[in-house]
Symmetry: C2
Subunit: 81 residues, 2 copies
């Protein structure tokens, strides 16, 4: 099963990459751009019997390795292969 | 309007971050994990009159700055604020 993970900096956490992108876009003339937040996107192939099993497995992966829960939030989407 | 951008390495392009995550997960005991691909996730606030206008504006941003079209693909989602 294909699982998509979206990791974003928590609200209130400084996001220097996002700020850098925002400034670069403005200096390129994109003046209609507001706040930019930069996160991570991970696609994982997981062998699991059900979507629920895949989701709970990837949740454990996020808690142990993929996301830093102090400064990051994550969200999952399970897609059948 | 909030626009979400998903940037992924193209198929066939070496993805060392994804490989590193895959190996780390396996060494943590997640043996049911297969291929892992690591990409970027960007959220942008864009002032635009319509979803179509926001999408075409962010598409230009991706082509000019956010994505490297030689090695990366991108996909957009526009969400009304």
């Amino acid at each position: 099963m294909l699982v998509k993970v979206f990791i974003t900096p928590k609200r209130g956490v400084l996001d220097p990459q996002g700020r850098a992108i925002e400034h670069s876009l403005k200096s390129l003339g994109f003046n209609n751009v507001g706040q930019v937040r930069m996160g991570k996107y991970i696609e994982l192939e997981v062998a699991a019997a059900s979507s629920e099993e895949a989701a709970s497995e990837v949740k454990r992966m996020c808690d142990q390795l993929l996301a830093n829960s102090v400064i990051e939030d994550y969200r999952l989407e399970v897609e059948r292969a």
